[in-house]
């Protein structure tokens, strides 16, 4: 199996590692970089538990090879409260009880982050479609939607305050 050198930026930190060509990005993140907040829930790109942001876009990291991420900027759940303060999405999920077992939560939050970057003022229906690539078995989604609405409002208010 051929080995390749991969250099990428993850959560603001530049890393270089040698990986097998077939190493899935999610395994690279979880096992080579020990960032276990990104989870695995299926093998058919259906559940979204492995969602990370690559150059700002939500990507299911189980369906991408690590070598394909060479040169990319990756954000995982571990980046969100890096400054010690919770991101409005994390706050929203906590406030609104947007999680139960917590397994889908990192992927759900990263998916929502990518979605809100594209659509900062979404309707409820747009949120539901926006996260439809992420499965949650515990919550029934209502409180996840509320959590994302909470974050959208807070992010909008912060933007307005900044202008």
């Amino acid at each position: 199996m051929s080995e390749h050198e991969v250099t990428l930026t993850i959560n603001g930190e530049k890393v270089t590692r040698s990986v097998e060509a077939r190493t899935l990005l999610v395994h690279f993140i979880r096992e080579d970089l020990s960032l276990t907040g990104t989870h695995i829930g299926c093998d058919t790109t259906s559940c979204g538990a492995c969602t990370v942001l690559i150059c700002g876009k939500p990507i299911k990291s189980c369906t991408m090879f690590a070598v394909q991420a060479d040169g990319a900027e990756i954000e995982t759940i571990e980046s969100l409260a890096a400054g010690g303060e919770l991101h409005p999405l994390q706050e929203g999920f906590w406030e609104k009880h947007g999680l139960q077992c917590g397994y889908c939560t990192p992927g759900m939050i990263m998916s929502a982050k990518g979605f809100l970057a594209e659509n900062p003022n979404p309707t409820e229906d747009e949120i539901r479609h926006g996260i439809s690539g992420n499965l949650c078995r515990c919550t029934g989604y209502n409180k996840i939607v509320e959590a994302i609405q909470y974050a959208a409002e807070k992010l909008q208010a912060a933007d307005a305050g900044g202008e």
Partner: protein
């Protein structure tokens, strides 16, 4: 020797619960201030900060030095003889350390078979025959996940295919014998009955109206987003086995491992870390767990096994798979008088259900539901087929979902048949509030209920009468709109030790509370949260009882070395059992605290009264000692002759089960062109007794409703005639997304349990139980005038479209 009765004594003194027939309210009771945050507060969950930051610790996150990886070779046939297994090519691969076969397990002490939770047997690894598709054949142990996956492709198995038997009715004919290891060459496993057959037959003889229906409750899968897995870490020097495992019942699993493996139980530590959803799927012991533990024993190294999703969907325990024939009788006034039910339970290749031992069909005899009737009789037969063994609960208390679906469909069919409004018909037939505690015709004693209040509230919330008017107008225009009701009775909290055990272990549960000198506390439980929020809920219960702020209480579960023994979390049993144990342990602590307070205040115990977080001298509340002051004194200034410390353990044996209930109303619109069912509104009124945390209860109900929607409209595990699973990935097995899941509208009534010490009942599964018939009833209600009487779930667009076409609605 302590007498049994002596040991029970503290319970009867401390269990000052809620007396019977407390009126139903809809106000959540709050007694403690915000800073203590006891029962009734909408407290944000204590466990969430780690999850929202990606700092949870699930089994696949466990990484130990020198850890090996296991992968499993699985059968491509549902039924086949194994002529040989050739693993030589796999063993020659770099990084492959071992291949474990059934022969190896046999040599290791007959570990190739294991008991199921129902005292049947199940293969861990086969020697000469496989009995279901995706059955474990052998396991490869390698230095990496990828090498293990490569190596399973290099194991060559010579199979000789045999006829599969997929249909349980065919299986009953015994043409193909699934379990030829058994002495009796038959697929029939057990026959079970409840109720009074003669009385029921008599009621049917006198009936004015009888309705009959065949219902199939299909095989489904819990499909928690985290699959199952284990890290087994055997330390030869210590003769100690440490196991990280996706377990809903770590103590019971430790005992099973000890019994199966022969390892002494004190040398086995099971740690169930954060669990990514369970829903019953993490109650059974699967072959993969046993092989993984053996692999660590053999190699002396830590071994990790994590299922793929396809393995999870194809081989892990299923739920449901009940084929039901039901008849309901009514008198000339339309009053329901009797119920007669015959059911065939497709068990797959082993009876590996997760039911209490004495209940092969679980609590299915709750099937008379919310209706008062003279007689009922229910029979169930279990049968083997060449499909994976089961069945687990799928967020339900032991077969209650099957029972509720049947009775709620039958009540609806009867109402329609008699031309009565389904809501009015239910109101007429409900068990009345003054009949509680109610003895059901199949032998249950329902603890409390007010079914009328819940249904009327749901009808008000959704404006039921106006909807019926709208339906009339729409029907006149040829539009298809339906309104469905489900007024369910749940039965949870197993259970009283006289009737409930799993493999002989009584179904009590436990709490241990230690209060530290500075007034902070550690509480440990025999249960194990998989997302239910125990760290918050249990802390609130203790806060309510002892006045310690719930943030000052650390709740820990899932480590068998530290937690008191308990039977685990499933069947909505945590609040009814371990929640009650938390109350009892708190009250034991409070009894000691009172003695310490009396000593500190130099008064008699009789002069003291409890007020939220302190003992006060009666009539002189300024003279008081807070729980924190008492805790400090328990270690620094306790009375002479008294043991130091402030802690207690309680093993709570519930006197009865609890019976949560609710009424759901669903409104659907059906697309005549495609047969697609759109849920326009869904109102759910739940009554789970006293509420500990309304935020968590709402979350449990939302999630349960979506897991009720799932089998009603989307999910089914399907096999072809050869027993091949056609729904083995999440691309084929349709778990609802945020788009399919409606905006649930919740209401509540509160009718406390009279026997639970804080009047709580359990809630996590009620909605999964109650929702499917509300949806199915709505669809049939929309189509009744066309002659449609029943549609089996999942009600998919092709099924509806075909019915519309057959009835001339759609071309």
């Amino acid at each position: 020797m302590p007498q049994l009765d002596d040991r029970k004594e503290p319970h009867s003194e401390l269990a000052e619960g809620v007396s019977a027939r407390v009126p139903t309210t809809d106000e959540v009771q709050i007694k403690t201030p915000e800073k203590i945050c006891g029962m009734g507060h909408r407290k944000k969950r204590k466990e969430d900060p780690r999850f929202i930051q990606g700092k949870g610790n699930y089994v696949d996150d466990v990484k130990l030095p020198g850890m090996l990886y296991m992968d499993i070779v699985r059968s491509p046939y549902a039924h086949a003889k194994i002529n040989s297994i050739d693993a030589s090519a796999a063993l020659e691969m770099d990084g492959v350390l071992a291949v474990i076969t059934g022969e190896d397990l046999k040599a290791a002490g007959d570990l190739h078979w294991m008991p199921t939770l129902m005292s049947d047997t199940q293969m861990v690894l086969p020697i000469d025959k496989v009995v279901y598709y995706a059955q474990e054949i052998c396991a490869v142990i390698a230095t990496s996940r990828y090498i293990a996956a490569d190596a399973i492709e290099q194991v060559y198995v010579d199979y000789e295919p045999l006829d599969a038997v997929v249909d349980p009715f065919e299986a009953m004919k015994d043409k193909v014998i699934v379990r030829d290891d058994k002495e009796k060459k038959t697929n029939h496993i057990w026959h079970w009955e409840a109720g009074d057959k003669a009385a029921t037959d008599a009621v049917f003889k006198d009936a004015a109206t009888v309705v009959k229906e065949k219902l199939y409750i299909p095989r489904i899968h819990v499909s928690s987003i985290e699959t199952c897995g284990m890290v087994a870490n055997y330390n030869k020097a210590r003769s100690h086995m440490q196991i990280y495992m996706t377990s809903q019942a770590p103590h019971a699993h430790r005992t099973v491992f000890a019994l199966v493996s022969g390892l002494p139980e004190h040398k086995i530590q099971i740690i169930s870390p954060d669990i990514g959803g369970g829903f019953g799927g993490k109650v059974p012991v699967y072959p993969g767990y046993v092989i993984c533990a053996v692999a660590s024993l053999v190699t002396g190294k830590p071994v990790k096994w994590i299922e793929d999703r396809s393995e999870n969907l194809q081989a892990d325990s299923f739920a449901r798979d009940y084929h039901i024939e039901a008849e309901m009788a009514a008198d000339k006034n339309g009053k329901i008088t009797g119920l007669r039910v015959k059911t065939l339970s497709d068990c797959g290749a082993a009876d590996a259900a997760a039911n209490p031992s004495k209940f092969p069909a679980g609590l299915y005899s709750i099937c008379t539901g919310s209706y008062d009737m003279k007689a009922a009789h229910v029979e169930v037969d279990g049968v083997y087929t060449t499909k994976p063994p089961g069945g687990v609960a799928y967020r339900c208390s032991f077969r209650v979902t099957e029972a509720v679906h049947m009775i709620e469909r039958m009540a609806d069919i009867m109402a329609h048949q008699l031309g009565e409004d389904p809501a009015d018909y239910r109101l007429k037939n409900f068990i009345r509030p003054d009949q509680f505690p109610y003895k059901s015709p199949t032998g249950w004693e329902y603890d409390s209920g007010n079914y009328e209040a819940a249904l009327k509230k749901a009808m008000d919330m959704i404006d039921y009468r106006t909807l019926r008017e709208e339906q009339k107008q729409k029907r006149a225009k040829g539009e298809l709109m339906g309104i469905g009701i489900s007024s369910f009775t749940e039965v949870v909290g197993a259970g009283p030790s006289k009737d409930y055990d799993i493999l002989g272990i009584k179904m009590f549960d436990s709490a241990e509370i230690r209060i530290h000198p500075t007034g902070k506390a550690m509480a440990r439980f025999g249960t194990k949260s998989q997302g239910q929020g125990h760290e918050t809920t249990y802390a609130q219960i203790i806060a309510e009882e002892l006045g310690l702020p719930s943030d000052d209480i650390e709740v820990e579960e899932g480590d068998t070395d530290t937690a008191p023994y308990g039977l685990g979390t499933y069947a909505s049993r945590s609040t009814p059992t371990a929640g009650a144990a938390a109350v009892m342990a708190s009250r034991k602590i409070k009894a000691k605290a009172k003695k310490i307070a009396a000593h500190l205040l130099e008064v008699g115990e009789g002069d003291l009264e409890w007020n939220i977080d302190r003992f006060e001298v009666k009539g002189s509340p300024d003279q008081a000692k807070t729980i924190q002051e008492i805790a400090f004194a328990a270690y620094t200034n306790h009375p002479q002759g008294m043991e130091a410390g402030l802690e207690a353990v309680d093993y709570y044996d519930p006197p009865n089960l609890t019976f949560p209930f609710g009424s759901y109303i669903c409104v659907v619109d059906i697309d005549k062109g495609t047969g697609e069912v759109a849920i326009r509104r869904f109102v759910a009124v739940d009554d789970c007794g006293h509420i500990i945390n309304p935020l968590i209860v709402e979350g449990q109900i939302h999630g349960g409703l979506t897991m009720g929607l799932a089998p009603a409209l989307y999910e089914e595990i399907v096999y072809d005639e050869n027993g091949q699973n056609l729904t083995g990935t999440l691309a084929d097995y349709l778990v609802p997304t945020a788009v399919e899941s409606p905006k649930w509208e919740l209401g509540k009534t509160i009718t406390p349990s009279p026997h639970h010490p804080i009047g709580a009942k359990g809630v996590g599964e009620s909605p999964t139980v109650g929702a499917p018939p509300a949806i199915a009833n709505a669809v049939v209600d929309a189509l009744w005038h066309l002659g449609v009487r029943h549609i089996d779930i999942p009600i998919t667009p092709p099924k509806v479209w075909k019915l519309l076409r057959d009835n001339g609605v759609t071309d």
